[in-house]
Symmetry: C2
């Protein structure tokens, strides 16, 4: 056996094709059943467009979060981190244009159902639900508003950020004066964002509360094209090489000029072929100096950068690769979901890359005999902290426990059997091929390190 994943064509996936129209429903059911995603506040009837993440969901999210940060910040010497507040004052959103532009036209049914629709989602003058008349379109701002302090006046108005980017622009001056960054450099941020979507949907694809991972990469004015091109390629590489997303399901979509956001010179989406069609996974936008310029104007603060080599002063331009955790999450589940047949029995399996699998290694003693359990506990002690591990002693016969691990995407099960007591070796059972290999306990951590290392550059 070589490094994960196994060579193409060695039987890993997929044996049984799941009809496209069923994938989403199956993934949603699995996500809830196996503790990945629950509807938020479900015991009170839920909250449309909000989802909670259960134990395996959190493990997957943390893996994604860490891999993004590792590749965007830690392994680079030109990107630093920032965490700005989720609530930001009205002045920020006035300057950024969000108060004026971050709106959807909305039409309400005046008939029986009173439902609200995005104006661009209805054709004609009738409510798609009950056929009643619709009122004229009104502009609806997608930001959630709150008030700081006891008074509810304009001076106390704050908004839950709809993107993390403005934090990087508003703090730009603080970052350049408190660190030794030099253009070109980036500021990266991970954190929650909120959009009061009129029609959330497609599970966690479009939600009202989500987590963004954004990089603002600052370059010299008019030197944007090269960096734009670099980030398009680099981000695509990350999805395939680090997260293990199927390359044939990804494509680049360049926005036509007329559909660009108000701040963008050029935008490319990395799209994934979801069961409901191609959809945006990540957006890479060339924001020019739009944001720094408007904040400089409105705040009356000097936001220029002084180039220490040339002594030029300028507002840098910025390239922004931005993606939400939720889009990556649903992409990984959909991409990994499969059904096949093993030992003449149908099996549900998530072919998650070891980099992101919520459990990387499950330790399963063959029986509840104390002597096996004792060894199993020793084995897991040696792996815990280095890998994401789970101990599975109570879940029925060994086959059932393998299946349960397959369903949550665990790439490797370590089986402790009665031979172990004599040969001091255990079996590594591979999820994708169901192949087994015997490894001495003393060599186990090393072997698993090699296997889970996967496609990461070594």
């Amino acid at each position: 056996m070589g490094k994960y994943p196994a060579e193409p064509g060695d039987g890993a996936r997929p044996n049984l094709t799941v009809p496209k129209e069923q994938v989403m429903e199956k993934v949603v059911a699995l996500a809830k059943r196996r503790g990945f995603i629950y509807p938020s506040s479900e015991i009170y009837g839920g909250l449309s467009g909000f989802y909670d993440y259960g134990p395996y969901g959190v493990a997957l999210k943390r893996a994604i979060r860490d891999l993004w940060w590792r590749h965007m910040v830690e392994l680079r010497d030109d990107v630093v981190g920032l965490e700005s507040t989720l609530l930001m004052p009205r002045a920020v959103w006035e300057a950024s244009g969000h108060l004026e532009n971050f709106v959807d036209p909305l039409r309400q049914c005046l008939g029986r159902c009173k439902k609200r629709w995005r104006a661009d989602h209805v054709l004609g003058e009738k409510c798609p639900e009950c056929g009643g008349p619709l009122d004229d379109a009104r502009l609806f701002n997608l930001m959630f508003k709150a008030f700081v302090g006891p008074l509810e006046d304009r001076a106390s108005e704050v908004y839950l950020r709809p993107e993390t980017a403005q934090g990087m622009f508003v703090d730009f001056k603080n970052v350049i004066s408190s660190t030794r960054v030099r253009v070109p450099f980036g500021i990266a941020q991970q954190g929650k964002a909120f959009r009061n979507e009129i029609t959330p949907g497609n599970f966690v694809f479009r939600v009202r509360e989500f987590e963004l991972m954004e990089l603002e990469y600052f370059v010299r004015p008019n030197q944007d094209d090269e960096s734009f091109d670099y980030w398009r390629k680099e981000r695509l590489r990350w999805y395939t090489e680090v997260l293990g997303v199927s390359p044939e399901k990804l494509r680049m979509y360049d926005h036509p000029k007329e559909s660009l956001s108000h701040y963008s010179k050029q935008t490319t989406d990395i799209e994934y072929e979801f069961p409901f069609g191609w959809g945006e996974l990540e957006g890479i936008a060339d924001r020019t100096d739009y944001d720094l310029a408007v904040h400089q104007e409105k705040s009356k603060q000097d936001l220029t950068y002084l180039d220490p080599e040339t002594n030029e002063r300028y507002l840098p331009w910025v390239i922004e690769p931005a993606v939400s955790m939720e889009r990556i999450f649903i992409t990984l589940l959909v991409d990994a979901y499969d059904e096949d047949v093993v030992n003449n029995e149908p099996r549900v399996v998530l072919h998650l890359h070891p980099n992101v699998a919520p459990v990387q290694v499950a330790v399963v003693p063959l029986s509840k005999k104390p002597e096996l359990i004792e060894v199993a506990q020793e084995v897991i002690k040696g792996l815990r902290g280095e890998f994401r591990v789970e101990y599975d002693q109570t879940g029925g016969n060994i086959g059932r426990r393998y299946r349960r691990q397959d369903e949550i995407g665990t790439p490797f099960c370590i089986t402790i059997d009665f031979d172990t007591l004599n040969d001091k070796a255990v079996t590594i059972r591979h999820r994708d091929t169901t192949n087994q290999e015997r490894v001495p306990i003393t060599a186990l951590a090393g072997r698993l390190g090699l296997l889970t290392d996967g496609l990461e550059p070594s």
Copy 2:
């Protein structure tokens, strides 16, 4: 040299005592100057009670976050993670008692200054600021309110959570039915929380937006005392052994019965001796089955747990260790801040434990000669990804660069000098003692691993 930290009394700290009344001011200034913490939206005049975290601040926060998660979840086999939404519907806060009880009595000055005061913070009937008369106390709810969807009616009311705990209770049923957890077990969560404090203050000690790290540890009814005692000790251990907080600055404060929260049977605070006095760092509360019981009643859902061994059904009781990132952050900065004299020059130094230092290893070539830079780049390449590293080539002479690293708490600087070209060795310069040791480049990563491993159990 042994493992970090050096033996007590070997001269590490403190040589020069900083007057207590100056520490806070100095820490605030350093935090801003060196990119740890900025006032939020500062270019627009800031937002009282909100702070952003700069590059070194984010590195420190991420280290704290990871160490909490590692010790509370990953290294244990009885705790799982959860991430619930920050916005939760009115029904949750009605049930939990927050709509009724999470209030402060507020009095407003009717004289010149119009300031608002917490009623328990003013003595008598006069405004402490301008001496004007005060109105009667009114109850002010500390939760931020927003509306989901376009209508601003009661059915659309949501609140930014003031604690993460309710998410664990509301999702309790989903967690037990989608995983194989068995009482006793815990659900852990890290995430933002919000309180519309009337008087935020003491830098990030009391803020309006913060990050909580909470564990709800579920036990059999009436078996709470043992677990309560365990978590008090375990959490104290974490601060001293893992984060390196000075033990003599920590104490336990047991709340008297009459001052307990409405849900608590017993509460202990781990307090730290801040420059402004003893204050709560972490709270450990015995919430009994209060929360599960009220949610079961209000939601009309069965939230009982079925014990698979005894076949008993019960509502578990819960012990909750809860701390905010901000309290840990300010504790670490205050605890680490020191001024001493090195080579007859005063120095500012943060004695941060290597576990949490934003930069663990700085690589500093003695000069800008290409042959030194080439080796330095090789050295940093071998360390990046394994340690939090920084390359410092441009910051003036070597002494100045050491001082800058001291000020942000970097425990180890690696100096590449001209001897390096011959002996293939580098110097490790220790922050606390300023001692230097010569190490072959081939042995550097191993030696640094040992040094940064610190007091972590190996």
